[in-house]
Symmetry: C2
Subunit: 216 residues, 2 copies
Amino acid sequence: MGIVISTFEWVPPFAQGNVKDMRPRWALAEAGLEYEVHPLKPGEADGADYRRWQPFGQVPAYRDDTVALFESGAILLHIAQLSDVLRPRDTQEAADVTSWVFSALSTVEPRVEGMILPKLFNAGEAWVAGWTSHAERLVELRLKSLSAHLEGRDWLAGRFSVADIVMVTVLRGLRNEPVLARYPVVAAYLQRGLARPGFEAAMAAQIETFAAHAPA
Amino acid sequence: MGIVISTFEWVPPFAQGNVKDMRPRWALAEAGLEYEVHPLKPGEADGADYRRWQPFGQVPAYRDDTVALFESGAILLHIAQLSDVLRPRDTQEAADVTSWVFSALSTVEPRVEGMILPKLFNAGEAWVAGWTSHAERLVELRLKSLSAHLEGRDWLAGRFSVADIVMVTVLRGLRNEPVLARYPVVAAYLQRGLARPGFEAAMAAQIETFAAHAPA
């Protein structure tokens, strides 16, 4: 069977390139590992079969010949162990990578999504402007801390790791937001990540899945 | 040196019992492992020394004789490995626990905190009511999925694990919210978690730290 990751069969253009199977696709590209996708048909994410694999109906979920997982952070820590390129070299490097994967998902991503999702999905509702202004101040606190850590570093945990894959995909949500430009060290880190061939390969692969299932 | 976790020296009463060093304290109590705390003095969380340990100035951070970590999810996965009680028994159980730890922190906690924190910290601002109503609908989607998974199960990944420690501390934020009562399977799971002696030990230990440093 080999490695299989779930994705949606198709999403609208504004979401293409942002769906979170970008993360395992990117890690697998860096690792040079082959994989297949399981594209979810409309409604399939809410069905009992898929919920046994991913209880919240989200993507990505992952399986290989030995194990099944869900949540992009868990999937990336697992993929790193399969790869001579991505596997941490010692106990402290593994601890740093794991800490930063959680940090990207638990400390940074909620602030970023909190700021940008209501502008996309709730445009015009009365509370959006007030909330967004508050949420941008919360994002800025994170960018300030992240900038201090990245000063003089190319990657979060020394050399490139799965933590950078998660953090770059999180920060990419801010690429058109003025708040990012106020933190040039973070903006340069984002550019460094997006310039990797592995990111480009993941993007091309995700778009290919959606193109194959585009509505007539 | 042994195990050391950081916490704040003191927080106001409404925050006591909710600070996130509750999670490693609980795990260490379940594991029967001794630890010391490093209580941060006012301002210390923003200092360069602490930022080298925890780049965002948050608590908890963790160190022992072999490794340093931050982010409660990373710390709990590490503690589980130190403990015959909490260590997963096979590869799939480890994958389930890791998936659920990420799920609690990345899929559930942002929705819960998004709903309850503005009511605490931004009371009276014009956007809070509209946002909170939206945020409660988002929480409800998660509770619905979680309820379906927990139906017929005592714990998220089969037997009790560090994933339950994280999820229970996340859901505890909803204990006085009407939305929780609409999901009795989840409410019963929360009560099951909070009834464990390990939770009570963690609570007593956290309160003891704050009491030792209470303002005159």
